[in-house]
Every structure is written in structure tokens, then in C-alpha cells.
């Protein structure tokens, strides 16, 4: 049976503000709040809300006969949480119908998959965690930013335990092969590749309202007819696009949502079903491995990364951003603002704004690629300086990591001890209900478990009631191996 797998990406960038080079070192806030609010509200009202409502309606009408997959980038989720919470409500409602699968993707919608595997893995984990928090399920299928994929990325995500990944069905990769089968990763056959049918996808996202297109007006029966007419055996039709295609690229006046709503009924007539990516992977065995040495993406006609990393300005930015030392430091540090800025600065849109391939490309607040480059590099200059100021330049990343491991271990120790103290104190109170806690303290270290040998004596007990936080950085800097110093450090607010 033929199956349609529809997937929509929810992403919008954090617009950066005009940042001059003389702001470097003085101003650490990089965002254009006004533009972010305006853009988020606009895309939510014109596209996300009506589209999600339409899907909700479809889910309620067709029940199990309609399935869809969605993914939200972490940075977009932050914007939605801030400016357009109604989108979140709709997503929740949609989730409750059970017809939707949420996918994993890199938190920042950035290019970490090409720059730093370490950071990529970290981002995907964070994103998966958010999805689990919000929608109750850990994603099993992943899509990378702009559908960027090559064999190495495949191996990485397979290692992380993902069952499948979405890939552009680029002609120059497939050759005579059809995108309507499930393939497997050339480096790891546990990972299934779902190939986007760019023709059918672009028919909706790029051409739907184009009156000079030969197939205009596109009707649901014709569209589903094309799918039904495909050769037997070509069972998986993957239609992937940005959610903003519905409503923003293709205006609502073009009745694109009515078209989408009509699809399940037409599909039913012809015995075509809908499925989520996980269901597709479960139902279809990979027909064979697909080798992809060079990254492909769903951008442009070339389906490669040339609109993101095509010119030397973009490559310079990329190299600065994913410098090994920098990435290591950012991952090691616990400064939340740095981590957040790192997510936002990575977003691939920042690279897209610098493209010189298309003179009329959308560039956000920028007028030209040079303008985009200059502004971004100013911000990056300030950001990198902040990262470098975190730790002395002489400290290597490995050293940093071992220090952090120590801190983490100490944290765990402390946690164990705190619990122990609380338990003992409670027990003590049972025995000596009238007495003060002070005399009891002297006894408490003794029964503590092995790691607590040098447990903080007097003050520790007085502080047990305080909520435990991670110890301050100072401990790390001084290579504190003795737990004695921990309580002293505790006074400082944790980073």
C-alpha cells in the first residue's frame, strides 16, 4: 500500500540587531527584540496557527487515517514560548490526538553537524529532552538543519540510537534510484533514510500559487492521482517542507490549506494511507544502503550547502564559529547566557543571509551579504571574546574537561553526603528530640559513607537545610581535591 509521510518544520531565526564594531566588548546583547516579536507574531498568525488548526481538524475528522510529523528547532521554541504561546497550545492539542510524531533536530538549527560532532550530539540531546518534556515522547527519528546529511552524520545519529533520518532525495545522489523506498545509511545499516520527494514537496511549497505554472491550479485529486499512478512498489512518498510554506510562501488566499485538508479524503478513495516516519520505518525494510560522501541539503536547485557555505565569507564565519577550542569551552562552561547566545548565533539563517548566490535572497534586516557578514562578525567577535575570557588561554580543553569531571564528581559526593546528613539528623531527632542539633553534628561525620571521610564538620550541618546547587567555579580553578573547600565555596552563587 502506498503511504504518504508528511512532515513540517517549524523554525524561525533570532534576528540579530545592528551591532557596530565599536560595540564589541561593551554590549553583550545581540538581538533585535522588536523584529523578533514582529516576525514571530506574523508567522504564527499567518501560517502556524491556521495550519495547525487545519491539521487538528483533519486529525479529528479522519482519526487514524491522517498522520503528520513535526519538528521544532530549540531556538524557534524559545521564540514561540515568548511571543506566540497559542502555537504551543495547538501543538499540545495536536499531540493529544495521537496523529503526530515529533522529531529530533539540532537545538540551534545550525551547522554543528558539519563543524563539531560533539556540539551536534549535545544539541540533539537537548532538543530531544525538550520534546520529551513537552510532548511526552523521546523522538526516534531525526532531521538535521536544512536536511543536511552525509554518511558521517548518519553514523553519528545511528550511534545516538535514532532509527531514521530525513534526507533530501537529491537527483545527483539518487541517479536512477527512486526516492520512494526506504534506504539505509552506508556506514551503519541500523539507520533508515527517508528521502524527500522534492518534486511533490516543491509543488506545494514553491509552486502552489504560481499562476504561470503549467499545473496551476493544483487540486487534491490531481495531486493524489500522481501518487496513485506511481509504479507499484514505490510505496513511500515523503513530502517535507517548512510549515511557513503554508500561509507565508503560499498565501492563505491561495487555499493551500483547503488543498491540504482535501488530501486524506482523496487518498482514502485511492487506498493510499498516511503514516508517521516511525511507522514508515517500522513497515518498510531498507532496500539497500545509500552512499552520500558530500553533504546534501534541501536548499536551492543544487541541493547542497553552497547557499550556506558557498563563499569565503561564509566559510570564514563557519571556521571561527566551530573552532575546536571555542566549542570545547562553550560545552564545558556553565554560563547560561553564553550557551544561549551560542545556540542563537549558530542558526543557519545567519549563514544564509551572507549568500552571494542569489542577489535577491531574503536577508532579514540586512541589505547585502557584506552587511550581514560585517554585522555577524562583529557580534561573533564579542561573543568569542567572552568565551575566551571564561578560562585562561593556556588551559587546554582536555584539562578543562577533567576539571569539570572532578567538579561533577564532587557534586555527586556532596549530594550523597547531604542526603546522608539529612537522614542521620532525622534519625538523631528521634533519639534526642529535645536537644539542639549542634551536639549531634559531631557524631554525624562518623557514620558517613566512604567518600565523606573529610566531610565538612561544623558548618556543613548548619547548612544542610539550604538547597544544594552546583559548587562555584572557584573550586575548579584551584583544582580543589579536598572536599573541605566545598562548603566555603558554597556561599558564592553557583553559575
Amino acid at each position: 500500500m502506498k503511504t504518504i509521510c508528511m512532515y513540517f518544520e517549524i523554525h524561525m531565526p533570532n534576528h540579530l540587531k545592528r551591532y557596530r564594531f565599536f560595540d564589541i566588548g561593551t554590549d553583550h546583547y545581540y538581538y533585535d527584540d522588536y523584529e523578533n516579536e514582529r516576525a514571530t507574531v506574523e508567522v504564527a498568525e499567518r501560517s502556524f496557527i491556521p495550519s495547525l488548526q487545519a491539521m487538528l481538524e483533519m486529525a479529528r475528522t479522519y482519526g487514524k487515517d491522517f498522520k503528520v510529523a513535526l519538528s521544532i528547532s530549540g531556538v524557534a521554541l524559545e521564540l514561540i514560548e515568548q511571543y506566540a504561546t497559542s502555537v504551543l497550545d495547538l501543538l499540545q492539542q495536536l499531540n493529544e490526538t495521537g496523529c503526530v510524531e515529533f522529531l529530533a533536530e539540532p537545538y540551534s538549527h545550525g551547522l554543528a553537524s558539519l563543524g563539531s560532532t560533539e556540539s551536534f550530539v549535545d544539541e540533539v540531546k537537548r532538543q530531544s529532552k525538550r520534546m520529551k518534556q513537552l510532548f511526552g515522547k523521546t523522538p526516534k527519528v531525526i532531521r538535521n538543519s536544512s536536511l543536511i546529511y552525509n554518511d558521517e552524520i548518519g553514523a553519528t545519529v545511528a550511534e545516538m540510537g535514532f532509527k531514521g533520518i530525513m534526507v533530501e532525495g537529491a537527483k545527483h545522489i539518487l541517479g536512477w534510484k527512486s526516492p520512494h523506498y526506504v534506504y539505509s545509511c552506508a556506514h551503519d545499516n541500523r539507520l533508515a533514510l527517508l528521502l524527500r520527494d522534492y518534486k511533490l514537496s516543491d509543488d506545494i511549497s514553491l509552486r502552489f500559487s504560481n499562476t504561470s505554472w503549467s499545473e496551476y491550479p493544483l487540486m487534491a485529486d490531481k495531486y493524489v492521482g500522481w501518487i496513485a499512478d506511481m509504479p507499484a512498489g514505490e510505496d513511500v512518498i515523503n513530502i517535507y517542507m517548512d510549515l511557513s510554506a503554508l500561509g507565508l510562501y503560499q498565501p492563505l488566499e491561495s487555499h493551500v490549506l483547503d488543498f491540504i485538508k482535501a488530501l486524506p479524503a482523496e487518498a482514502q478513495k485511492r487506498g493510499i494511507g498516511f503514516a508517521t516516519p516511525s511507522e514508515v520505518i517500522a513497515a518498510n525494510k531498507p532496500v539497500g544502503p545509500l552512499e552520500m560522501l558530500h553533504p546534501v541539503s534541501w536548499n536551492d536547485e543544487e541541493r547542497d550547502t553552497s547557499s550556506l557555505l558557498g563563499n569565503c565569507m561564509q566559510r570564514e564565519t563557519f571556521n571561527k564559529l566551530y573552532d575546536e577550542k571555542i566549542v570545547g569551552r562553550i560545552l564545558a562552561c556553565r554560563d547560561r547566557r553564553i550557551k544561549q547566545d551560542w545556540d542563537r548565533l549558530q542558526a543557519s539563517d545567519n549563514f544564509r543571509f551572507m549568500t552571494t548566490k542569489d542577489v535577491n535572497a531574503y536577508r532579514g534586516i540586512y541589505e547585502s551579504p557584506y552587511d550581514a557578514f560585517t554585522n555577524y562578525m562583529n557580534i561573533l567577535g564579542d561573543f568569542l571574546k567572552r568565551v575566551k575570557d571564561l578560562f585562561p588561554d593556556t588551559v587546554e580543553n582536555d584539562e578543562l574537561n577533567s576539571l569539570y569531571t572532578q567538579i561533577t564528581n564532587l557534586d555527586k559526593d556532596l549530594e550523597v553526603k547531604t542526603k546522608e546528613i539529612a537522614r542521620l539528623r532525622a534519625r538523631l531527632e528521634k533519639y534526642e528530640p529535645k536537644e539542639e542539633a549542634a551536639p549531634a553534628v559531631e557524631e554525624s561525620p562518623a557514620p558517613a559513607p566512604a567518600p565523606a571521610k573529610k566531610a565538612p564538620a561544623k558548618r556543613a550541618a548548619a547548612k544542610v537545610a539550604e538547597p544544594e546547587e552546583a559548587p562555584a567555579k572557584k573550586t575548579a580553578g584551584k583544582k580543589a581535591t579536598s572536599a573541605k573547600k566545598a562548603p566555603a565555596a558554597k556561599k558564592k552563587p553557583a553559575e
Binding site: R20, F21, F22, I24, N311, C312, M313, R315, E316, T317, T356, V359, E367, S368, Y370, D371, F373, T374, N375, M377, N378
Partner: protein, 425 residues
Amino acid sequence: MFGWEFPPKIYGGLAVASYGITKGLSLQGDVQTTFCMPRPTGEEENFLKIINMSQVPIAWREPNYDNLCSRLVGHSADDYYRFRNHIYADFNYMQGLDDLGCMGFAGGYPGNLHDEINNFSIIAGVLARSEEFDLIHAHDWLTYPAGVHAKMVSGKPLCIHVHATDFDRSRGKVNPTVYSIEKNGMDHADCIMCVSELTRQTVIHQYHQDPRKCVAMHNAVYPLSEEIRSIVPNKKPDEKVVTFLGRITMQKGPEYFIEAAKRVLDRSRNIRFCFAGSGDMMQAMIELAATYGIADRCHFPGFQRGRQVYECYKNSDVFVMPSVSEPFGIAPLEAMQCGCPSIISKQSGCGEILTNVIKVDYWDIDAMADAIYSICTHDALYKYLSEEGLKEVDQITWEKVGLRIRSCYDQLVGRGWFDVNDYRP
């Protein structure tokens, strides 16, 4: 074609543009150009016919043939006699006639410029009667009266070329005499070629011309000669040079360059700023630099000519043209030919045909400083602009301009009027 300047004698951009246009047309093979100018040097290239307006008779004299031949610069003695047969009124009353019956021109831009323009127009009347031609093309306002006169006499279509308007030169405070000459020329013209869309809009709105007869005809550049290409840049590795090249006058916006320089130097001291050129604001600019305490980083080498100009570009890391109003501005194209990235004001006409340059508003000194700093600090941007700029500017040739002018000519000669809507470049 009426013009005021022609190489090798160069006063400003007009000579270069006149050369480029005539050369571009001559390459088509079937366009014959007669270039009438006040005072040729005799060393002009000979792909076109030069008529020396200083030696066109307007009063009958009988000069000795040998004497005549030895004295004529530009056209021949036969031309002289033919012109003499077409004197159309008695100009003996005029002051300054020489023994050939001609009015001399000082050349260039002397104090009695208005008299010279008038004389130029009188002589054009003689030429219009004696020469055979299909079309009149007049460059810049100095020759408009001559063009109009020639059109009145011959009835041939008049095409005028607006290289600049008085609105650009004076920031809006126009000289009424100049304005009236310009306006009169435009009113009589059948086709107005403007060096940029910016200028075209000025012509339409300030001179109230019909948009249909105005067309933007962008300038181009000639490929660099081998001699200039072989100049080896003399750059210091740890120092960057930012250059302003042009007349230091109000029109060119030098004060914005200083302001931007100050902002850049506040942060980074290994950048030098070079003001190549002279002009009435030079003194004020030196004082301004001193006031800001950046005089040690600002250099004023004075007016540059010929090879020096290209050396200057080659030694620079950034070229800045912050013109307040620039009809076209050929300098950034020359800088790009030398591989020097350019920052130009959005008020410059050449920005309309360039993509690999950074464009900022002339008053936006923050953006200008940012762009300068960015090119100086990020090699990727420098490299990109330098390489892509060179590729781009190599595509802008006078041959193409010649073809576009030709298509306008074809309309004018073919049916007698010009409509920009029918113009297909």
C-alpha cells in the same frame, strides 16, 4: 558629437567618458563619429575625426594655403574651405577673431566660460550647415547650446549626454544661468542619456523632462594597461590603508570620511587614512583631523595623476567614496580593477551597476566605519570583494555601452523620436 574634453588632455571624468563612448561606437564599424571640441592638442587617437572649433571660420578670410596647412590642428585645409563656404552671417563685429576668421578657445574651464559656450554655439551653426550627419550628440551642459543650434539648423535629432547636473555640483543651490542652459538643452533634446538612474531622476524631477525620453546610460571602464597591471603593491603586512581619492570638495563628502576614520581609529590604531586629491575643503579637513587627534594617521598627499592614481589604489586595502551626490563616479570601478575593495555612498550612480561593493548612506558614518573596520579585520571579506569585484568590473566595458547607445541611435535615426519603453539594452 560635441564635447569639451578629450584625452590626452584630461580635466576630469568627462574626457574619459567621451573617449570611452566614441571608442565603443567606433568598434561597431558602421558608426562614423566627428568629434567637435574647443581646442584639441593634435595628439588625439585617430579612430574618429576631430574638428578643432578654434579653427572653424565664422568670418571670410583668405589665408595663405601653406600657412593654413601648417597651422591647422585637427581638421584639414579642405575642411576649412568647406566650412568657410557655409558662414551664415557676418560675424566680423565679434571681438577676438584671428587672421583665419576663427574664434580662439582657451580650452579647459577659463573665467569667461559663458562667452566660450556662446562662441562654441555660433561655430556649431557653421558646422551644421557644412557637414553631413544623421544625429547630433552633445556631451555635458557646455555643449548643449551648440547641440540645440545644430538641431535648429539641420533638423536632425539631438541626443544629449548628462554627465552631471548642477544639482550634483552645488548640493541643490543651483546657478540660475547654468540651470537655464541645461534646461534649454534638455527641452530641445530628443533623447537624454543620463549616466545613472539617479541622474535620470534628477533630470525628470528637477528639470521637468518627460521620463520617456530619458534613459540611464551607465559609464564603463577601460581595461588596465599592462604597465599599470604590473605595478607591484607596496603594502605593509601589519598596517592597512584606507583611501579617499577625488577632489576634496563638498560634493565628495570628505568630512564623513574623517568622521568614520575617527571611529575606526578609536578602536584600532594600525590603520592609515589617505586623502588623495586637492580642493577647497582640504585645509578644513586637515584641521578637522587635527582636532580629533588623528592627524598622525591621516595623510594628505595632494592631487594624484596618471600612474600615481593606480599606485594609490594598489597600495590601498579599502577605497571609500562617500560622495553626497555623484552622478556616476568612475573611481570605485578603477579601484576594483586594481583589486581594491570599495565602499561607496548610496548616492553614487555607479552603485546601480555594482554588486560587489559595500554601499552605505553618505551620512551613515557608523555604517561606513563598520564597513572599513570589517574589511580591514576580516581577510575573507577583503578577499571576496577584491576577487569578485575584479571579475565584475571586467564585465563592464565601453563596448557594451557603445551597443546600448547604438540602440538609442537606431530609434532616433529610424523614426525620429526616442521612447525609453522601446529601449532594450
